[in-house]
Amino acid sequence: MTFDYDIIMAYVDGELDLVTAKRVERAALKDNALAAMIAEQRALKAKLAAHFYPVLDEALPARLMRPLEKIDTRLASPARSFRWSTVTAMAASLAIGLLVGPQFFSPSSGPLTVRSDTLVADGTLANALDTQLASAQPENAKIRIGLTFQDKAGAVCRSFDSAAIAGVACRQENDWIIQRAMAGSPRPAYRQAAADSLMDDIEAMMAGDIVDAATERVWRDNNWAARGAVHN
């Protein structure tokens, strides 16, 4: 069986329905040229993702924060007008930093924080849980998302691991509440062990199945909203 170039690309991008994706997978087992094409495109995708991923960890430049600070100042005191100089730029960024939370300004901010006596994901961990698809994460991602599933109350939960911490977090309003957490390891082999040991917890929490790439994407687009309780 042969497939159009477009179909192969759509397969690599996770855009095919499950049945067609399975057909491509089965064909690739017997067709070396097809398998090589898929591997090449996956490698290209991984290379691009890895090349641009470090931008996410860069400190945000003050000049990007300044327009946001200007608006806030004007709303707070409409009679005053500011002329921003280079010297005040840092002060402006510090002010907005206090306003919106220090996590945006400190690359070293921790992955967890306590809010209303609840442990929630913060900083890069919250960002990874919010945006990272398990099906499309860079090879060198500092935080790796494992499984995405729904708990018995209907909340969306995701497992994660990194050098610092591994665990499971579930979505509640706009936060990721940490349900399970354990020390991570900089060594990938140990990280796998941590992920494996979380599996029992996940199985106990889970309602329904672990979701596929397409569902994961839809859930992300819906801001990980609760799906309604599942009875099984």
């Binding site: 290209l44 860069e58 990007l64 960002n127």
Partner: protein, 162 residues
């Protein structure tokens, strides 16, 4: 404040998108800065409950395309059509790029803007075809066609290193 907070939270991804489009650190931040200013001016046009990221990405890409066309009119850059022809015909450029096969930025820079945009939206930012088409304001078929040509050119230029 929710709007500003959401915007700040989006900034790392927006900077990555801009970096992919422009290929330059400072140009990318210039573009982000212009996009933020535009968004704050036009914030009434954003409907609460719709996705802020798609809206911001659309503003950013529109500014970028406008600038690119203005530069092309001034003659400081090749036009979009010219660069498309160049990619198809200029094997010297390809060979040159292949010598630096590790340089993703260099390979990206040879792509016509619309192809680069499609590549960044789908392969770097992880948007679905439909979402990417929506941001680029084109039909899905146009988006996938640009994406296909872009990734084919990249695969050739980056070769075995990909």
């Amino acid at each position: 404040m929710a709007f500003e907070q959401d915007l700040v939270a989006l900034l790392p991804r927006l900077r990555r998108f801009a970096r992919g489009l422009t290929g330059h650190h400072a140009d990318a931040d210039d573009l982000c800065q212009a996009a933020i200013e535009r968004a704050l001016t036009a914030r009434q046009q954003w409907q609460v409950g719709t996705r802020l990221d798609s809206w911001m990405y659309r503003i950013t890409r529109n500014l970028w395309i406008d600038r690119h066309r203005a530069d092309a009119r001034r003659g400081s850059m090749t036009s979009i059509d010219d660069s498309a022809v160049q990619i198809a015909d200029n094997s010297h450029q390809r060979m040159e790029a292949q010598l630096d096969f590790g340089d993703v930025d260099r390979a990206m820079a040879t792509l016509p803007p619309e192809q680069r945009e499609a590549v960044v939206l789908v392969l770097v930012e992880g948007y679905s075809y439909r979402e990417a088409a929506d941001i680029a304001s084109v039909p899905v078929g146009t988006l996938t066609s640009r994406l296909g040509r872009g990734r084919e050119a990249l695969a050739t230029m980056l070769g075995e290193a990909a």
